[in-house]
């Protein structure tokens, strides 16, 4: 009836096998259609933005030291915020998912507030907390002379404040998905709770932790409102890329689009590089 494919040579068989592996559960077709629609919602505005890019002026616009300074500030602060969020946020998530006590839902609610507080107000709240006269900042200032709001630290704190909740919520969800049997088995093998956490729990929720870190990093990279209020907008010190975009918007629209393009390119390239490999279980 149908012409049989010629017997596959060894290499092509191997190729087929490695892509096919265990047969994937096929997504329902309707779902794929909706997924394309969802993607369009993101793709069309980004595409539209690309039409606005002043391609000819681009090289000269990007060569300014404003861009390179902002790039440095953005890179350092977004990575630092991601690292700090990992160190502080995963324990918070663990506590919310596994701890006990009635305080948990309150803590969860508090940990989610930075997402809903308007960025400018969030920045002000940070000032009241960590500024020169702030609840905590006063001690820090007296003890170390460090003025958080005027330094790169301020950018990092603002980014962490705004972005960390995404990690906390994601990891908590994943921990609640996790069947605790493996952790139990590990404990019964004599593993210290810390070992269980590090060697069993974290790897088992790996993809979700990575998803959370991506969220934190991306949110930090794009963070504007809280940073501008809390850390200011000093070129070379606290002016990150979104802040540079904002300033450019007032004077040179093309420059603003060009700098946005840098942001888009960075996150695009990073996410493409991380790609599937990073998502898979180690």
């Amino acid at each position: 009836m149908r012409v049989r494919r010629a017997p596959a040579v060894r290499t092509s068989t191997a190729a087929r096998r490695s892509t096919a592996k265990r047969h994937r559960v096929r997504p329902p077709r309707g779902l794929t259609a909706v997924a394309l629609l969802g993607t369009a919602l993101f793709a069309v505005p980004v595409l539209a933005l690309l039409f606005e890019v002043p391609w000819t002026r681009l090289p000269s616009l990007l060569r300014s030291d404003v861009v390179s300074d902002a790039l440095r500030v953005s890179a350092i602060s977004s990575l630092a915020a991601t690292a700090i969020s990992a160190v502080l946020g995963i324990p918070v998530a663990w506590f919310l998912a596994r701890g006990s006590g009635p305080g948990r839902s309150v803590i969860r609610a508090i940990a989610t507030l930075p997402m809903v507080i308007p960025p400018v107000v969030g920045g002000a709240a940070l000032l009241y907390a960590f500024g020169r006269r702030g609840l905590i900042g006063e001690f820090v200032n007296d003890a170390t002379g460090l003025l958080l709001p005027f330094s790169l630290w301020g950018v990092i704190i603002a980014n962490t404040f705004v972005a960390m909740p995404f990690l906390v919520v994601t990891v908590e969800g994943a921990l609640r998905n996790l069947d605790p049997d493996h952790e139990r088995a590990a404990a019964s093998l004599g593993a210290h709770p810390w070992t269980v956490f590090r060697r069993i729990t974290l790897p088992l929720i790996g993809p979700s932790v990575r998803a959370g870190l991506i969220l934190v990093w991306a949110r930090s990279l794009g963070e504007f409102g809280a940073t501008v209020t809390f850390a200011g907008n000093l070129q070379g010190r606290t002016q990150s890329l979104p802040l540079a975009v904002f300033v450019a918007l007032e004077s040179d629209r093309d420059a603003a689009v060009a700098i946005s393009l840098v942001l888009i390119a960075i996150s695009f390239v990073v996410l493409i590089i991380l790609r599937d490999r990073w998502w898979h279980q180690p």
Binding site: V228, T229, E250
Partner: protein
């Protein structure tokens, strides 16, 4: 009985005009009962993007002449007028903890000094003012707009900053006017949108703003004469 259908007049106004335009809206509507002024307040850059993208608008008032120039070049507006001026002052937290008396104090290392960012009108103006005064300011922070500086002054996180006069009407702030030789003014332009569906009413609104009554409202909030 339902009120008669009112004509909607869309007015795009820079955020620093929030208060005055609310007042102007009220009085203008009192004069023109058939008009419903719909204020759209946002940063000047947001307003520009909206206007460029063809947003339905009748009147545009911004705080940045460059932005209005872009709109003129794009043929989005016509009949541009300056309707108000503003000037920089030295703002300090109430009680003036840094004991600031003039621009010369901006050179002091022990104070926390803030300016608007370069490229933003208030930042460029501040730069020029300090240059003219010959002060080597020790800047601790810059802000994208006046708002950030005011928030910091209110929180006592800055000792002094150069901000617009209209931004210091807060009990947590005090201000020091600059000496006459350093006072320079920025102008606020207003224009009718080319696509306006109510060009006449739009023109009437602009007339009201530039009229003596309108200017009185502006003055009350600290704006200078046009």
């Amino acid at each position: 009985a339902s009120p008669p259908e009112r004509i909607g007049l869309r007015v795009f106004a820079a955020s620093s005009l929030t208060d005055v335009f609310a007042e102007i809206e009220e009085q203008f509507e009192a004069d023109h009962v058939d008009v419903d002024v719909q204020l759209n307040v946002a940063g000047s850059a947001s307003l520009r993007e909206q206007a460029l993208a063809g947003a339905p608008v009748d009147v545009i008032a911004v705080a940045n002449r460059d932005i209005m120039t872009t709109l003129i070049e794009a043929s989005v507006v016509r009949g541009v007028l300056d309707f108000a001026t503003n000037e920089l002052v030295i703002a300090v937290p109430s009680g003036n903890p840094g004991e600031v008396v003039g621009l010369d104090d901006f050179a002091r290392d022990d104070l926390l000094i803030g300016l608007c960012a370069e490229g933003v009108p208030c930042g460029d103006l501040a730069e020029r003012t300090l240059d003219t005064a010959g002060v080597q300011a020790s800047i601790d922070t810059r802000s994208s707009g006046v708002r950030g500086l005011v928030t910091r002054l209110e929180a006592d996180e800055l000792d002094a900053a150069l901000v617009y006069l209209t931004d210091v009407n807060d009990i947590r702030l005090e201000h020091i006017t600059l000496p006459d030789n350093l006072r320079t003014q920025i102008r606020y332009p207003i224009a009718v949108a080319r696509d306006s569906t109510q060009p006449t009413t739009a023109q009437a609104f602009i007339q009201f703003v530039t009229s003596e009554r309108g200017q009185a409202i502006m003055r009350e909030s600290g704006f200078g004469p046009r």
